[in-house]
């Protein structure tokens, strides 16, 4: 009788522990999704801003057709991208195209004096920053979630219920890679 009670108690504890593990995995997966939607809002906002930018700049930068077309093209490719990895690559290309354009703009004082353009440039810069900051938050979440999926004992639950690892959102950030390492010591 006593052994039966003990065995039942142990089984109950194990079941409740497994339920807890499952729930924590679900919670983490939702956090990853939430972090992703934060990035998505900013990416969408950037896609919305670009037509306005092209429209405003078109009249001023007649000799830079190619730069503007590159932006439009990169935008449509980014909007069509499916998986997180593809999206990251396409959005990285878009970031490059935009920053190239902003360098070109330096040669057009008339455009730089346009209030509409300045407001758009500010919005784009800010969106760019917001993407970078929410990307950090997203990648932190993904790292934590993937660790849980791979580590014992939660990996068993993850395998049983088909929890898949999430993809990191890695932009090709040139400025980041080229940050010079200087040591005066």
């Amino acid at each position: 009788m006593v052994t039966l009670v003990v065995v039942l108690a142990v089984i109950f504890i194990i079941i409740f522990y497994l339920i807890g593990l499952f729930n924590s995995l679900v919670r983490l997966r939702n956090q990853v999704k939430n972090a992703w939607s934060q990035i998505d809002v900013q990416l969408k906002r950037r896609h919305d801003l670009i037509p306005n930018l092209v429209e405003t700049a078109k009249g001023y930068v007649k000799h830079e057709r190619g730069t503007l077309e590159a932006i439009t093209e990169a935008r449509s490719r980014a909007m069509g991208a499916g998986s997180v990895g593809d999206k990251a690559k396409a959005e990285g290309a878009l970031t490059d195209a935009i920053s190239k354009f902003f360098v070109v703009v330096e040669n057009y004082p008339d455009l730089k004096a346009n209030q509409n353009f300045l407001a758009l440039q500010e919005e784009l810069t800010s969106t760019e920053n917001k993407i970078a900051f929410s990307r950090q938050a997203y990648n932190d979440q993904v790292l934590y979630f993937n660790n849980r999926i791979q580590m014992f004992p939660s990996n068993m639950i993850a395998g049983m219920f088909g929890f898949q690892q999430s993809e990191f959102f890695e932009l090709e950030d040139k400025a980041e890679r080229q940050a010079p390492k200087v040591d005066f010591n």
């Binding site: 809002v41 969408k44 429209e55 919005e123 810069t125 800010s126 917001k130 900051f133 390492k181 040591d183």
Partner: protein, 474 residues
């Protein structure tokens, strides 16, 4: 970030014990000086009562009192879009649960502070002078410093310490002044009859305590305040990953000659740079709320390897030439490298443009309305202007004041609630057909009047209140 908050909690408990015992002893000795038998405990009761009243006031209305004293006004994003964007960016970077409220202080002196007892309900205030003088990266640095104060729960902590200090100072002041006015001779004669030696001894201890306790508490408070400034600088560098922005902002703020009128001894410690001690570089390090500015700048500039908290501690050790844990140990555990990023496009504004922008900004904060006349002149209409139209001072053309602005003028000071950018309501945009080429006003679907200027060339216009787009046909 949580590790820093919990380190903060532990420290605040420690502070509570030290300052609290200061307060209790002070209350006891003063009470005992008047009535040696049982008076000490009545004294403790009174001290506790004063502390509680001050705590309740500061907890429930501390932030609104502070904002009112400093002359800060709530603003909408159309007054300064960049400031709102930068605050939003730092909110995302710091993972704050809500967007802080944004205030602009109507002053040409550059400075900033943050307030609010919870991260869900906090505010960041910057002066108009700061906005015109700093470029985007520098503004981001300053906002990041203020956001760090919110994120690390510094505001709660310093308010708490400030209330303790305030109670100690208040009680000592009341006691010392009561001695002054009651006249020494008669008191000693009166006391010596009924309680003898005891009261005299307690009186001496109480006087000594009333003189020393406030000084001790003040030094403790200042030491904590300075430490929190270093920590906020370190967190700001980590949030923006661009320490140079904050460094050059501090440099510009320190260099400016203007004085901030809304600051006094009680609020000085809350600003990013102490507005009262700005020009006193030789001031003893012991008696200031902030670390020396030159030192803060030097530490930020020494961050050449990365922007993590560990990097900041190393830079601090190098500049100060001594080891002093400025970052709590728990913050140093996380050794993940934080790479630096490059500078954003920074256009330096000329002195004339700065002055013009400052004037416009201060008028916008005060509810002025801007009209662009067809001749190109920007007309500034004061908030108490009641007529329907105004004559251009340059070309004499009559400019109608759009009713949208009249509506805004009617509610000057009222905050127009605006949805978060990017969260604008969706749905097919409505269309509006232009009647002519002058000023025109139509009502957005949300009911807010929207004005079109004679120069408006675009195909659509966004409602400043609800964010809906309206297509414009000409």
């Amino acid at each position: 970030m949580w590790e820093l908050i919990s380190a903060n909690r532990r420290k605040s408990f420690f502070l509570f014990v030290i300052m609290g015992s200061c307060l209790i002893l002070l209350g006891y000795f003063i009470g005992a000086a008047y009535a040696p038998r049982g008076g000490g405990f009545i004294g403790i009761g009174i001290a506790f009562f004063i502390w509680m009243i001050l705590s309740v006031i500061s907890y429930f209305s501390g932030d609104s009192i502070l904002l009112a004293v400093s002359g800060a006004r709530p603003v909408t994003p159309d007054v300064h879009q960049q400031l709102f964007n930068v605050v939003d960016e730092m909110k995302i970077a710091a993972g704050l649960p809500a967007m802080p409220k944004v205030y602009i202080i109507d002053s040409p002196a550059p400075n900033a502070f943050a307030t609010g007892r919870k991260p869900e309900n906090c505010a960041i205030a910057v002066t108009a002078g700061l906005l015109t003088r700093l470029n985007r990266d520098e503004l981001q640095g300053v906002v990041a410093h203020e956001t760090s104060h919110i994120m690390n729960r510094d505001i709660q902590f310093m308010t708490f310490a400030g209330v303790m200090l305030g109670s100690i100072v208040l009680i000592s002041q009341i006691f010392v002044r009561s001695l002054w006015f009651s006249g020494g001779g008669s008191r000693y004669r009166g006391r010596s009859k009924d309680s003898g030696q005891g009261a005299a001894i307690f009186m001496i201890i109480a006087i000594a305590f009333a003189i020393l306790a406030p000084i001790f508490a003040q030094l403790l408070y200042l030491a904590i305040s300075r430490r929190r400034e270093y920590l906020a600088d370190a967190s700001a560098a980590r949030l923006t990953r661009y320490p140079e922005g904050l460094a050059s902002a501090l440099e510009k703020i320190a260099k400016s000659p203007e004085k901030l009128e809304g600051a006094n001894d009680a609020t000085a410690g809350l600003y990013i740079i102490n507005p009262l001690q700005k020009n006193r570089a030789d001031l003893s390090a012991w008696t200031s709320t902030h670390p020396p500015i030159a030192e803060r700048i030097a530490i930020l500039r020494a961050l050449s390897q990365g922007a993590s908290l560990v990097d900041y501690q190393n830079a601090f050790n190098k500049i100060k030439g001594k080891k002093d844990a400025v970052i709590p140990d728990s913050g140093l555990k996380d050794a993940t490298p934080v790479p630096l990023r490059g500078a954003g496009a920074a256009a330096e504004k000329g002195a004339g443009a700065q002055k013009r922008e400052l004037g416009d900004l201060m008028r916008a904060v005060n509810g002025f309305l801007f009209l662009t006349c067809a001749c190109g002149l920007k007309i500034k209409v004061p908030p108490d202007f009641k007529k329907e139209s105004i004559a251009c001072p340059r070309c004499g053309r009559e400019n109608k004041i759009p009713s949208a602005e009249l509506a805004t003028l009617a509610g000057v000071g009222a905050i127009i609630s605006k949805d978060i950018p990017g969260m604008a309501p969706s749905g097919a945009p409505s269309t509006y057909k232009r009647k002519g080429t002058g000023w025109e006003t139509f009502n957005c679907t949300c009911g807010r009047p929207v004005q079109l200027s004679p120069q408006f060339q675009g195909k659509e216009i966004t409602c400043p209140s609800c964010g809906r787009k309206t297509l414009i046909q000409s």
